[in-house]
Symmetry: C2
Amino acid sequence: MAFVVELSRRLLAGEAPAVVGLDPRLSALPTSLLPDAPAPDRIAAFYQRVLPALARHVPVVKPNIAFFECFGSAGFAAYESTCATARKCGLLVLGDIKRGDIGSTAEAYAEGHAQWADAVTLHPYLGGDSLQPFLERCHPDRGGLGVFVLVRTSNPGAKDLQDLPIEGQGRALCDAVAAAVHRWGQELPLAEGYSPVGAVVGATWPAELHRLRRLMPNAWILLPGVGAQGGKVADLAAAFDRRGLGGLATQSRGVMQAFQPSDPDWLAKVEAAAEQFAAECRHVQQLAARAK
Amino acid sequence: MAFVVELSRRLLAGEAPAVVGLDPRLSALPTSLLPDAPAPDRIAAFYQRVLPALARHVPVVKPNIAFFECFGSAGFAAYESTCATARKCGLLVLGDIKRGDIGSTAEAYAEGHAQWADAVTLHPYLGGDSLQPFLERCHPDRGGLGVFVLVRTSNPGAKDLQDLPIEGQGRALCDAVAAAVHRWGQELPLAEGYSPVGAVVGATWPAELHRLRRLMPNAWILLPGVGAQGGKVADLAAAFDRRGLGGLATQSRGVMQAFQPSDPDWLAKVEAAAEQFAAECRHVQQLAARAK
């Protein structure tokens, strides 16, 4: 089933609009788990244990491929197996790959990554034709991929280019990207009012979120940066419609590092943190429903 | 030795300002070479044969990681082994990875890719802090990595965002990125007048190249899009100074697909195409030297 169809189905059935990021850091893995194994094996084993617990509380996980591929081919294999394990647990997989290239290169990236993930994050700088191989795969009859285009990122340096004012438009570069996301999305079938072409807007910029949501009324908005980066779930109501759709709050370290590496009770702590995060996300849905 | 130090040393010694792109397409491999082996093995075997021949004519190869990682972990292993083989042949490796992410994610990408390549291509959209982990590794005493930031790409869609006019600056987004490339480069030691922070400017845009070179007088400019994409080496003189430094013309298909897959003489044809491309690149250096 297409990513956006399944996502809205799950949220309408009461699952939380919450995404847990998987950014494996060796120093934050439980020391009890295969302490002497190679790094990629430790990572894969960690997610084998953790993913069934996460699946009880959130609908989507977001493995960040950088933390896998930095270990080379064995790390890449751990990425593939983590994606497969997540799917087996019933989770949707949003591959945080941030790829962006042209022509046949974009086609190669799309062909590869659509195998492992149900949705992916993408760079916009190279323009519409660079996204085309991914957008084609968004059609429900061509795989139903979801894409999330970087619009306004959560880091301080987001301002360097994304805030540059565009002449004659009375708005910034990230607004122009948001408008393009809306345009690209209009060429694909909507599911519950939302297109397969979503956007990334850092949870660290609530004012911009408000403005950008108006420019992309049909886009799922992925909201990273909750927790360690300073974003707060309570500030994200603008992303949601009154049915609780449209936003996906995203947290990584706050859930996946909710324990000391030496803690024997680490799995219960991760699960408790995921449950707590899901509850916060449901709460902001309710705030949004009341306000609209 | 730092990438830019070694690069200028080689060009001043008479090597051509030419980069051959490695974009492995199965349909374009010689049918005689391991026809029944898995794709990544065929790719690795192809480059094992080809790289010694390329090393006789060009100083740099640019493996495009998309065409490797689309085969998953085995493809990633072929990327690693191709980089290692290229280095063993005395080639500099410019990893065409087009990564771009923030904070600890950027650090993970930098840590991984600095192992395999001497230089990499990067996305600018996330701003200066997203490049920092790579820029730190550009210092000669921290690995001497080279980076090439996407400024103006070779595809038609480059216009979508890169040409947007920035208010009050009288220039386009790609000009603002070029100015930032220049700024980032000023914080690092120069080699023969060039910084480790280079730029990608498509060979398909000679007019823009002229303008962008003025904004980045100390940047090595990587010029992809020669050949199949329509760029012509003869149009690239603006990238070069009178010593023949500053530009790197880049061709992939024109060299690596200079044969029919069934041709038993394929290796000689690749080598002849590389030699011819190198000669064209030397010729444009001479044009530039005469004009300046």
